[in-house]
């Protein structure tokens, strides 16, 4: 990690990051974020202002669906839809506890009804239909509700002729819904064919992690696929593969960068540039004139070239 993070460290980090243990210890723990990758410490407020990206090593932390939406869309433009959809327990599934109890706990923890928030918004003035996953809700797993919401998001795109964007962060299908969760792969992939047929752009954004049943369906079917740096992206779990082939896999196996090199991701885009990249791309795909982008970066914003 680290090579893809080449921007200078933001000034405010240097000012506010404490240098000594004594300074840190005087402040309550929950006000600080410690990077699990490099150990850098930063106030939660500054961390959030840096889009939950470690300013020292560039690690992109997982973020909630609502934070993601706030980072991507034109301020105040998001209108949530289908929020009332709720999972039932069609299998009466019990593992270590009942599925219905797991659902209740996840709802309480996240304030969401399921693992995806959908709605419409504007991004750089382009109206889009948006579906954003939240890993905190049962590992972002795909059950009937997620499948239905992605399907409706895509149907809305076709109806209004507006692009569709999904942001995935998921361990895959929700086992507690058995065969019904598998069928969500079919349902969502069919809508991708319909989007294609209707000539509506579909942009798939892969955040950490994007794996298994979600990757083997709609997330891999974007007209353009964008991944966040360092995200875990693949089909089978790394540990399962290691056990199967009895071999230790390299650290960069199944990362965004690996997937781009192997031809399955168009570009790896840092969170700080994601919104701008989307604005440029959406306006190109929708044959809209370019708009001046608020500048935070150097001249390279005109041409985005993937790093080798």
């Amino acid at each position: 990690m680290g090579s893809w993070f080449q921007r200078p460290t933001p000034e405010f980090i240097k000012i506010t990051a404490p240098q000594t243990r004594e300074v840190r210890d005087r402040i309550p723990k929950d006000l600080w974020h410690k990077c699990p990758n490099c150990g850098a410490i930063i106030t939660r407020k500054d961390f959030k202002a840096n889009l939950s990206v470690c300013p020292a090593c560039g690690r992109h932390e997982r973020i909630s669906a609502m934070d993601r939406i706030q980072q991507l869309v034109d301020e105040g433009s998001f209108k949530e839809n289908n929020a009332s959809l709720r999972a039932t327990d069609p299998l009466n599934f019990v593992d270590k506890r009942k599925y219905s109890e797991s659902l209740e706990a996840a709802r309480k923890k996240t304030g969401l009804n399921d693992s995806l928030v959908s709605g419409t918004a504007h991004i750089g003035g382009v109206e889009v239909s948006l579906g954003v996953m939240d890993f905190a809700f049962m590992g972002g797993s795909m059950g009937s509700v997620l499948g239905e919401k992605v399907t409706r998001a895509m149907e809305l795109s076709i109806e209004r002729r507006i692009p569709c964007i999904t942001v995935t962060s998921t361990g895959g299908a929700r086992m507690q819904e058995g065969i019904l969760s598998l069928m969500q792969m079919a349902k969502t992939s069919i809508l991708c064919a319909e989007l294609e047929q209707a000539g509506i752009p579909f942009i798939s954004i892969l955040a950490d992690p994007s794996t298994a049943g979600v990757m083997a369906s709609f997330a891999s079917l974007g007209d353009v696929i964008i991944a966040e740096p360092g995200a875990y992206v693949g089909f089978a779990g790394k540990r399962v593969i290691e056990q199967t082939i009895n071999k230790v896999l390299p650290a960069d196996f199944q990362t965004s960068e690996f997937q781009r090199e192997h031809g399955f991701v168009d570009m790896v885009v840092e969170r700080a540039r994601l919104r701008k990249t989307l604005i440029v791309l959406l306006r190109q795909l929708m044959a809209m004139p370019p708009i001046p982008l608020e500048e935070e970066e150097g001249s390279d914003s005109q041409v985005v070239v993937g790093k080798a």
């Binding site: 039932t88 270590k96 598998l182 089909f235 199944q254 399955f264």
Partner: protein, 278 residues
């Protein structure tokens, strides 16, 4: 489903999910090649994805079904140890999925119905499979099978697990042999993840509701093809006969539909999959 037969000690209708799961892996159970030989004539195996290699885990080709030209394909688990290794135990690589869709598109161009036999514990979880895009290959197949303008009849004949099955599994009709199973994950995999204990495979098999009867109740399949008491391996001929009759019936219904109506029917079928409240 199979009638109870007093003279048979193991009437299949009373089997548990785990017992059926075990029957599906019985070493003598008819597998894809057996079904192809029994139900089809003039089978010509077609190989390769035209990009990388031929995947022996999937057998595919043109054939005739009751004299009508068709395409038939399926995962082959293999029988003898050497054959099983060659077939990679019916676990496909991305090039297998790409071969499958290539030959389905061939069927589409020459207006041949497609028969698909599913028998896999999943797509192969290997290093090269990931490097060559296992997820993309499966996703693309699901999407592109939806667009086919010829009848597609899918049957789960033994094991049917996860995207590895669905990657060749989207159809106008989906059938299951009575002792096959179909789910999002194998019970072993589920036990390892949700219970952290592979010994819980039997428990997971029950919880996942993976039997033909349960999957039918959930609205995912169209018909259960009965097997002889005790399982298909005890009387393969009887199994072939019932299976053949089911395929004839469904093909006849589908052949009556216009190509665009096939696609519309597929949309309606999969659009309603799932259970939730609003």
């Amino acid at each position: 489903m199979a009638k109870k037969n007093a003279s048979t000690s193991t009437a299949t209708s009373s089997l548990s999910a785990f017992e059926r799961y075990q029957l599906a892996s019985h070493k003598d159970r008819p597998r894809t090649l057996d079904f192809i030989k029994a139900l089809f004539t003039e089978f010509l195996e077609l190989s390769g994805d035209r990009t990388f290699r031929d995947d022996p885990a999937l057998i595919s080709g043109t054939a005739r079904f009751h004299d009508k030209p068709c395409v038939v394909m399926g995962q082959e688990m293999g029988k003898e140890a050497k054959d099983r290794r060659l077939r990679n135990f019916g676990m496909m690589h991305p090039e297998g999925y790409r071969k499958a869709i290539r030959i389905m598109n061939l069927a589409n161009r020459f207006k041949m119905p497609v028969f698909i036999l599913i028998d896999t514990k999943g797509a192969y979880p290997g290093q090269e499979a990931e490097e060559r895009g296992q997820a993309e290959a499966i996703a693309r197949n699901i999407r592109d099978m939806y667009k086919l303008k010829v009848p597609v009849i899918v049957t789960i004949i033994g094991a049917g697990a996860s995207g590895g099955a669905l990657g060749i599994g989207l159809g106008d009709r989906v059938l299951m042999l009575e002792n096959s199973w179909y789910n999002v994950i194998s019970p072993e995999g589920c036990a390892a993840i949700l219970w952290n204990d592979r010994e819980k495979t039997a428990t997971a098999a029950e919880a996942l509701r993976l039997t033909a009867e349960e999957v039918f109740k959930l609205g995912v399949i169209d018909e259960i093809v009965a097997e002889p008491n005790g399982g298909a391996h005890l009387d393969p001929e009887a199994t072939y006969k019932k299976f053949d009759a089911a395929l004839v019936k469904h093909l006849k219904e589908l052949e009556a539909l216009a190509p665009d109506d096939l696609v519309k029917g597929r949309f309606a079928k999969y659009r309603k999959m799932g259970v939730f409240e609003e």
